[in-house]
Symmetry: C2
């Protein structure tokens, strides 16, 4: 199910930049794959990529049109179908991160069948996974975990991959969510796997490797999130991580989507993740904390990082403001 590159970002009539956040993530992390954007009249998102017609995209050798945009009104927005059918007719694949399947739209299904093109729904795993064996696999693994959902686990993993590679380490990002899958060109949308097979899916996603190879696995959810903790725990057990990086957003007042649930204490959250991870890798350690300080001014951000470092005695960095160098320093230790 690996995606054909390069990509054209289909932004449709996105009402604002936030609605195009999947596409923006891909363009940020994989500029070399992101060749252009397609926008309909009224589109208020802009990735700063060249605007392309479908015809121009075909001429430019685009492999896949990425529907990386949320449409509140329904599945596909008004006026989306015609250009998407044209993309299939001109030999491109379509890939979507939406919950509903592209094949549910008869015009897309028929055009794809007629032209032998692929409709790829990255939220829906296309293969079966085995129950996890729990047997320790060779190779090294780093997993990003979090105090909550949406606090920087994918961003941190990609920043770590980049920094590790710049130091000559053999590192590979392993995607477990839709945006990550578009970025990696492959992966497993782990929250869509049947419950019994989550750790097995991670064993498949991050298979046995050379002893010096690092898989940098994108975490999901939080052990302390009442809706998603089971996903996080299965991912943790299947990943068998040698290293954990705890991701945190310090201004959040409650768990995402759960107004009555407080964010867990950072030290307790690290402790419980380590304890659970030891079940499948007794040598696991937490190498530091990745803090999304975007909502703080620079002074407050520095204060928070310094104070947290003092309390936890672990490197605390913001991957955007201060980089992940101090975390990677600890991997050789």
């Amino acid at each position: 199910m690996a995606l054909r590159t390069p990509y054209l970002m289909f932004l449709g009539d996105a009402p604002d930049q936030l609605a195009a956040k999947t596409a923006a993530g891909i363009a940020y992390w994989r500029p070399e794959m992101s060749r252009g954007q397609f926008r309909l009249p009224g589109c208020r998102a802009d990735l700063g990529l060249p605007d392309m017609t479908i015809e121009a995209a075909a001429a430019a050798g685009i492999g896949t049109v990425i529907i990386g945009v949320a449409n509140r009104g329904g599945f596909l927005g008004e006026g989306w179908e015609v250009p998407l059918v044209e993309a299939l007719e001109r030999g491109m694949d379509l890939a979507s991160g939406l919950h509903r399947r592209l094949g549910e739209v008869p015009a897309l299904r028929d055009a794809a069948a007629r032209r032998g093109r692929n409709l790829i729904d990255v939220r829906h795993p296309t293969r079966d996974f085995a129950v996890a064996s729990g047997v320790k696999r060779p190779g090294k693994r780093l997993l990003t975990v979090g105090t909550d959902c949406s606090c920087g686990k994918m961003f941190t993993a990609l920043a770590l991959e980049r920094e590790m590679r710049s130091r000559g380490l053999d590192a590979e990002f392993r995607a477990t969510g839709q945006t990550g899958i578009f970025i990696a060109g492959d992966g497993v949308s782990i929250d869509a796997v049947v419950a019994d097979f989550i750790p097995g899916a991670v064993e498949w996603l991050s298979p046995a490797a050379d002893p010096d190879h690092w898989d940098v696995i994108e975490g999901q959810g939080s052990l302390f999130h009442a809706s998603y903790a089971g996903v996080s725990l299965g991912l943790l057990h299947g990943a068998q991580p040698d290293a954990l990086v705890m991701c945190h957003e310090p201004t959040r007042t409650h768990m995402r989507g759960l107004r009555h649930f407080p964010v867990p204490d950072l030290a307790l959250c690290i402790e419980r993740n380590l304890e659970a991870a030891r079940l499948t890798n007794p040598a696991v350690r937490c190498i530091g904390v990745s803090v999304n300080t975007d909502a703080l001014d620079l002074g407050a951000a520095r204060d928070f990082l310094r104070r947290t470092e003092d309390v936890l005695r672990l490197p605390c960095t913001d991957p955007v403001r201060t980089g992940v160098g101090p975390l990677v320093d600890r991997l050789s230790g």
Copy 2:
């Protein structure tokens, strides 16, 4: 998807009693629903129920034929198809706990369609569930949890339901696995639910109820099982239990199916289940331990229960040998 009772147990050519353990569980807990058994030549299982032909089953008003037997050689054993088609022709439904779907067998699919009968695969949820809200629901809930898989969680829950009802409590068993679903006539095979929706499925399975009503929810897996812990954690969060009963098999030397994983310490396992459960119900308490002492002689069993009671300061009972009375005593406390 509630099953039509009474049941005919289809034992096929089961090679031994163990192969018919689902059917045996149903016959043990729901004798009033289990009217007969159907056996092919060579069948070595016997539930002690009247042997019935399909014709006699129809005359006796059987609602559903239960395929409660594992067949190692393949999906349906040799000679199974003819009597199963006849059952559909004579107006009965078929229900199966096997992984593969009954509808994959063309003869069954066609006969069911022709006669408007149901093919029910209890391992496969037939509805979609929402993401859990985490909002506390009225009514009381007891969840059986375990140090490992297959250590008595369903049996204990059913024994508790029986004992609670005998004391006039308003109690209802809630099934989360295939045998439990046949026994309850309804339920959700929780390990077959997509990961993101496990706690939501439990919120659906055990909805808001009268303040004095108890749902007795069948647990699955173990927080300390490397293959299934995510399922157990999602179930724990969705159940919002007021009471936990820890189930344990004292002679097991390693986790089921995982030779290199030791069974967790009982006290630590209780502690971690309580801590995780507090996320959605801060008032949760463990009311005792249910021990399957079947592999011990009576003296050793009594010793184990007494010693464990002293260490944990909680009632420890074997639901078969000593009954679950001491656990139910604690519910009023």
